[in-house]
Symmetry: C2
Subunit: 315 residues, 2 copies
């Protein structure tokens, strides 16, 4: 089904996940048509690129021709040259010139972007960070990822590695994170760390944990039912996230911080604590107009952001 707004440009956005690649035909903030997802695991990059090509062609079958393509990938991506240096959880993608390969076959521009940046761009253009100049987008999940929109553009840094908020430290003498950083945020508020802390807190309180796993979702259910252990833990996590965000606020003075990912679904159990923590740690000049808001595009942010980046690159 092709949308009636045929004067608005189309692009294909490909959300390349570790176990599922989801291509979609996109028009502005809307997914017009979804391709059949496929799994990159146990396939060579060449095989996956063939599947991707076929899926992109299929998505455009009702259009006069093929349209620009943007691909968001979880890993180390050279978005300037369209090369995948390596993916986080998929083998066989070292130094693959994806843009060159696909654009030669499809005869349309094909751009690559880190998935966190793609999501941030989507949220900035059409979601929770719309109409701002300076947005910090954070994904709270197993890891804590981030991306920066500064002066109305994606900011990537010298090695295209900016925005790694999860690896910043809130305690320079704290426990060591994956790259040796003591007190790195992810060690406090990553999914698994939240669960471990919750189990310890329930044990210390002599209260039975809601589930053996104590996932962030379980902790939301428990907190909504009035469980003090869970409520206190969300307050603690909010304070810690606020401490990390306060550093970003002092450094970048953003308009908005957008929070997505599973942990952000804690919503009112978490956001007021984050806001209070940031406010108590920053000056009124920089916190008075600052907004802390949930992401609004959900799982479609990546595809929508990639498609928009593909169109922006061509303009």
């Amino acid at each position: 089904m092709i949308n009636a707004n045929s004067h608005l440009p189309y692009a294909v956005g490909v959300d390349f996940g570790g176990t599922s690649i989801k291509p979609a035909l996109v028009q502005c903030a809307q997914i017009i048509k979804r391709g059949v997802p496929f799994d990159p695991q146990n396939h060579t990059a060449a095989e996956t690129l063939l599947k991707m090509e076929a899926s992109i062609r299929e998505l455009c079958v009702d259009l006069p021709g093929l349209v620009p393509v943007g691909i968001g990938l979880p890993g180390f991506v050279d978005s300037l040259h369209g090369i995948v240096h390596g993916l986080s959880n998929v083998v066989g993608w070292d130094e693959v010139p994806v843009s060159k390969i696909l654009s030669e076959r499809l005869k349309v521009p094909v751009i690559l972007e880190n998935d966190a940046n793609a999501m941030a761009y989507g949220e900035w253009l059409y979601g929770a960070a719309a109409n701002t100049q300076h947005a910090i987008c954070v994904t709270l999940g197993t890891g804590v990822g981030g991306a920066l929109i500064l002066d109305g553009k994606l900011f990537r840094g010298a090695q295209l590695a900016a925005g790694e908020l999860g690896h910043t430290s809130i305690d320079f003498n704290g426990v060591s994170g994956p790259y040796g950083n003591l007190g790195c945020l992810e060690m406090y508020v990553g999914n698994h760390h939240i669960s471990a802390r919750a189990l310890a807190a329930y044990a210390a309180a002599g209260v039975a944990a809601p589930t053996p796993e104590c996932t962030p979702l379980d902790l939301c259910v428990a907190a909504h039912a009035g469980c003090k252990v869970a409520l206190d833990l969300w307050a603690i996590i909010g304070n810690e996230l606020g401490a990390a965000f306060a550093n970003i606020v002092w450094i970048l003075n953003p308009d908005v911080i957008v929070l997505g990912g599973g942990v952000a679904k804690a919503g009112d159990l978490l956001f007021p604590h984050i806001e209070r923590s940031i406010k108590s740690r920053t000056s009124s000049v920089i916190n008075a107009k600052l907004r802390i808001v949930p992401a609004t595009l959900g799982n479609d942010a990546g595809a929508i952001g990639c498609a928009a980046l593909a169109l922006a690159a061509g303009s």
Copy 2:
């Protein structure tokens, strides 16, 4: 004396300090002629602006006409509209439209900038951060100031208040700083805090302090003479600065961090510890090419930066 490179444009850069205003005629990275410094204390803004006007005219007396003017001020400055909202240590400068007043009188463009930004711009264009895209400039003195050059431009943030690195925290449960931020960097490495810590360290070690004040300079002399207390303190301070800078590195992935101000004069007593601390807390992707370097323009960075900003604004 007017320089022989008369084809290069001139501008006046005014370094507006709390007790001394220093105007200078600037050509690229060179101060061609220095005006007589004057003190803004115990004068109204109107009086000081008249003096500034006379000094600017005097600096240009050998030129065919007046040239663009840039003024760097210590306080809250709206560089977009040329308004001083207020100065840190000089009363009577609330909401003064300095650019409008002076440009109407002089008939040349007059731009304002926060002094930290002006210095950073100077170091980026002609000093320690030359030929980089992403530079973090830090002044280590009584306070810890900072400014950001991102994607080859000064980055100011939503309320033009970005770059306040001294107020970022390295310990979210640490001692409270001026804006309530627990563990804020300035409380560890600001001049006076270094002195207080040094006196405590000497007392704890049962060693006589080199001077009753134990200034950073005194601590440099003591360390160079082999004093273990002083050497250890520089190592501790380097570790703490490195922790704060590692956060900036994870967030912004810069090419270079430029360190100026009195404490940076500790040089080899301090820089290797900072480098080691950053390296131990970040990934090789982002630290391999990162440089930590001393500022090179010294006290002239502000005037040179302002003059360059004045020319850039007119182009």
